[in-house]
Amino acid sequence: MKVENDSHFHLETESAPARSLSEVPLNRWWRIERLEGPHEECNRLLDLGFTPGEEVIVTHAAPLGDPLVIRVRGALLALRKREAAWIFVE
């Protein structure tokens, strides 16, 4: 796994719990750990390519902080923060 973390941070976050995609810093690669949210909506996100194990990067936050623009499987998708919060990454 090649998560682009800087090395100091890395040691401390080893055992850190997964964070939701809505609150991670921009422009770093993350690996999806799990999806946790309303059943139907999460199924749709899975169908769109947000599957556990997949690597994603948040490339932009819109001027008002929401929605987030996320790159997954070669596509750019805009997700609201509420939706991104269902995606837990490490």
Binding site: E40, D47, G49, T51, T59, H60, A62
Partner: protein
């Protein structure tokens, strides 16, 4: 489960092929390439919202019935247009029975598109994959080996470039050859429904077969033109300024770019009118032709260049890929108002015409947000209002200040966006109280540089359909109105030219006078307002007719009309009709009122009931009248003439 008899029928029948795939994969572009059609394509997901039908061009040898479907992100929790597509794919549609599918797959996003392909391949119908966006693949230093991919998936794969027609003949041939070979047992059809393992299998398939060669993960698109543009247009501080500059320059450009063409058309119609009067002997007929027909149509035709420029710029914007960014930017404010990021595109296309805009609202997933979007679309300043505003602004502002008129027009447009937002905000709180936020999950396509030929073709298609739609009411109403305002009831024999004051139109118009006086206008403007219910543009031709613009030799018809309007007074007094306050009132009236029965009809069809449609008609027209009266009275009270 086809019975024997149906099977026999099937053989004599032409093949029905459906173009399916995820949104924005190039289905409609491919449809146009196969059928030679001119269906709407644009660079954002969710353009096609209904089934488009056509027949393959004769040059491909064999005829296919081609049906283009709306794109589907996922069969889970579909929006109405996705549901329609899924119904056809699963064979549940009453009329469209596909024999084979052309799966349109974006080569730059194989994994995601193949996941959806699995759903299609399972239906037991023949499947041919059409691989689009191969040119983009080359740019981003990746490649797809078509043969290896076909072998890995177990279905035929044909690379195409729908924009140039490359690969399309091969595609048609392949479809014919494989039409009765459903991919049962192929790797694609065996993909599980469950997304996690399906994606895993797809990746394994692609890796094992070496079908895809790509550069390192980090280089994917991070330094592409798209990423660079996005850094500006989605910028924390620059995002919104850029957004407003784009919108305002779109609307302001309409005025100054159109002027030379407008002068040309104006001169043409004026000359035609003069010529008629000179060539034909002076009679009722010649004056009917010159004033009623040529004059009436000419008054509206002058504004055609503005409408074409609006269509052109909108097509350009739609093709660029910016719209999805715009939708992302405004998603937050719009959802605060009870709308959805996806409401942005229908709202914007409402500036061209409310009818396609109401249809475009199908792409909005939640019913509540869709209805609310439909509710506010009539407020968007559509192209039919453009001639009216243009005429009124020219009358209001001194000649030779095109930039002032341009900016005022832009202000009206942006104002209609704001008022619509306000209306939505109020309605979502007062009427639609049930709030369950829906999913955004919207794809942002890569930017594409404009291709002029298709853009001009699309502009022309939109423009000519506009002419067809508006032409008939303009012509009929102009003709009727000329007759009504030039003949009188009273005498047995027809007296012409009747004095305006005694004409039939005047007699009818006088009955409305009490309602019109508070708006600061007389019966002649009232006649225009009523006839505008046939089509809003008719207001302009009515003005030309009731204010009797006769071809003054050294003046064009347009200048003559403005002159007449500036000097027109209430009968028997020296009080001007068109003062700043009354013109403003008229603008307010047109801003709100729903003078378009086609919109009412399409809203009724999309919502399946008269309730929303009828309410819209009554509400907006009523509000338009009340606010027009209020603004005239307030302006007068403030001392504005």
């Amino acid at each position: 489960m086809t019975t024997r008899i149906q099977e026999v029928e099937d053989q004599t029948r032409e093949l029905t092929v459906c173009l399916v795939g995820m949104p924005n994969s190039g289905k409609t572009t491919l449809m146009n390439a196969i059928t030679g059609g001119n269906f709407k394509t644009a660079n954002y997901p969710g353009v096609t919202v209904s089934l488009l039908r056509g027949k393959s061009k004769a040059e491909f040898g064999c005829t296919l019935n081609v049906v283009d479907l709306p794109g589907v992100h996922s069969p889970v929790a579909p929006s109405p247009e996705e549901e329609l597509a899924c119904r056809v794919i699963e064979g549940n549609h009453e009329r469209v029975r596909p024999d084979a599918f052309v799966l349109v797959v974006d080569a730059t996003q194989l994994e995601r598109h193949l996941k959806f392909a699995g759903f299609v391949a399972k239906q037991g119908k023949a499947v041919v994959v059409a691989l689009t966006m191969m040119d983009l693949l080359r740019q981003s230093d990746q490649s797809v080996d078509v043969e290896k991919l076909a072998r890995a998936l177990g279905v035929p794969v044909v690379p195409v470039d729908p924009r140039t027609g490359g690969g399309v003949p091969e595609l048609v041939k392949t479809v014919h050859a494989f039409a009765d070979a459903p991919p049962i047992g192929s790797a694609l059809a065996r993909l599980p429904d469950e997304p996690v393992s399906a994606f895993k299998l797809i990746r394994e398939l692609l890796q094992r077969s070496h079908a895809v060669r790509r550069a390192g993960r980090l280089s994917v698109g991070m330094d592409s033109p798209t990423a660079r543009i996005d850094r500006i247009v989605l910028h924390r501080y620059w995002g919104f300024p850029v957004f407003f500059v784009v919108l305002i320059s779109l609307f302001a450009a309409i005025f100054w770019a159109a002027q030379p063409f407008m002068d040309l058309i104006d001169a043409g119609f004026s000359d035609a009118g003069d010529l008629l009067l000179r060539v034909l002997p002076d009679s009722v007929i010649s004056r009917f032709l010159a004033q009623g027909i040529v004059g009436g149509i000419g008054a509206v035709a002058v504004f055609f260049p503005q409408i074409m420029i609006l269509f052109f710029l909108m097509t350009l914007l739609e093709d660029s890929g910016y719209l999805a960014r715009g939708a992302t930017l405004v998603d937050r404010p719009l959802s605060y108002l009870g709308l959805h990021g996806r409401s942005f595109v229908p709202m914007l296309s409402g500036f061209a015409c409310a009818i396609p805009a109401v249809l475009a609202a199908r792409a909005i997933p939640a019913r509540r947000e869709r209805l609310l979007t439909i509710w506010i679309i009539p407020l968007m300043s559509c192209s039919a209002r453009l001639p009216v505003y243009a005429l009124l602004l020219s009358a209001l502002l001194p000649a030779g200040s095109a930039w002032k008129q341009g900016l005022s027009l832009a202000a009206i447009y942006v104002g209609s966006l704001l008022i619509a937002s306000l209306t939505a905000g109020l309605a979502s709180r007062l009427v639609f109280d049930y709030r369950k936020p829906s999913l955004l999950a919207m794809e942002l396509p890569v930017y594409r540089s404009p291709r002029w030929k298709p853009i001009l073709r699309m502009t022309w298609a939109r423009g000519s359909s506009y002419l067809r739609r508006a032409g008939v009411p303009i012509m009929t109403v102009s003709a009727c109105l000329w007759l009504l305002s030039n003949f009188a009831f009273s005498s047995q024999s027809i007296v012409t030219p009747a004095k305006m004051e005694t004409s039939v139109a005047a007699q009818l118009g006088h009955k409305m006078e009490p309602a019109l006086r508070p708006m600061g206008v007389d019966w002649r403007v009232g006649v225009g307002l009523i006839s505008a219910f046939a089509a809003r543009e008719v207001f302009v031709s009515s003005m030309a007719i009731v204010f009797h613009v006769d071809g003054d030799d050294d003046q064009t018809a347009q200048a003559g009309l403005l002159e007449q309007m500036r000097t027109a007074t209430f009968p028997g007094t020296s009080q001007l009709i068109f003062t700043p306050s009354s013109i403003f009132g008229l603008i307010v009236f047109f801003f709100f009122s729903l003078q378009c029965f086609s919109t009412v009809a399409v809203v009724r069809r999309e919502t399946n009931s008269w309730r929303l449609a009828g309410l819209q008609l009554a509400f907006y027209t009523g509000v338009g009248y009340i606010l027009a009266v209020a603004s005239v009275q307030i302006l007068r009270a403030l001392g504005v003439a």
